[in-house]
Symmetry: C2
Subunit: 156 residues, 2 copies
């Protein structure tokens, strides 16, 4: 995966396991029991998880290196994406129709996903202001969350 690379793949959201496997096959991939197990875990998650977590949640548990490879494949196909929240391992999740973008607070070290309407508005404004078009899906927006801004302003 060369984990750090950015997922400039276009998302290929699917509704269920079966259609995910179809997408895989379309792409020339094979549907193994490991891949079925991996995707089952992904469909059961409610938040991005580390490869460690995903591999061990599968039944039977999957090999970690293989899981990296498979997730890379799924990411290339657009079924999966990953985020870097905070400092630990990269976190994977299914690509959804409305891919989340994240913000990370440097003070309280917590992630929050950002409201799409808000982030889209900000993105346009930023592009006008700087010429740069930000994307916070893979690497989050880093700074202070509203609570910590309040805290900091109170101290000052």
């Amino acid at each position: 995966m060369t984990m750090p690379e950015s997922p400039l793949t276009s998302p290929r959201p699917v509704a269920d396991l079966t259609s995910a496997l179809d997408v895989l096959r379309e792409d020339g991939g094979r549907v193994s029991s490991s891949r079925r197990a991996l995707l089952t875990v992904l469909f059961d998650m409610d938040a991005p998880r580390s490869v460690e977590q995903i591999a061990s949640a599968a039944v039977p548990p999957l090999d970690v290196p293989s899981t990296y490879r498979t997730l890379e494949r799924l990411e290339q196909v657009g079924l999966v994406r990953h985020v870097h929240l905070g400092h630990g391992p990269g976190l994977f999740e299914l690509a959804s129709i409305d891919d989340r973008e994240y913000a990370w607070c440097e003070s309280c070290n917590k992630a929050s996903s950002i409201d799409r309407a808000k982030i889209d508005a900000a993105r346009d404004l930023i592009e006008k202001a700087t010429g740069h078009r930000p994307r916070f899906g893979h690497f989050p927006l880093i700074g202070l969350c509203p609570e910590c801004i309040a805290k900091e302003d109170a101290e000052a």
Copy 2:
């Protein structure tokens, strides 16, 4: 250093090696030949560099773990800061009066430092739109640079 931690230390820019050493001493630190060598390297750099690079540029070359420790100390004092550009190792540089903030292009994988007025404008926009106050000194603004936006729009 627990590298990933954010440098919430306030910058303490200095003009030359001598005053840097003074700051260190003020803080109760000792001025060793290693530290002198390390700071000399830092003053000679024109862009942020990895610990590897810095340690081996010193004369005589410095031990890498020690260099991490010393840079951590210097960062706490405010003489030094570090940035994460792209995916490699963290990059260190002297804290300057007008600390740079960076933008990173996910497509061409290049960093550019952003004009302060522009980045300040972007920061305000983001805070107004999302309630989150970003800081791009430690982790950059990530997305597409103007050239890659043009390229992408052309393809579409």
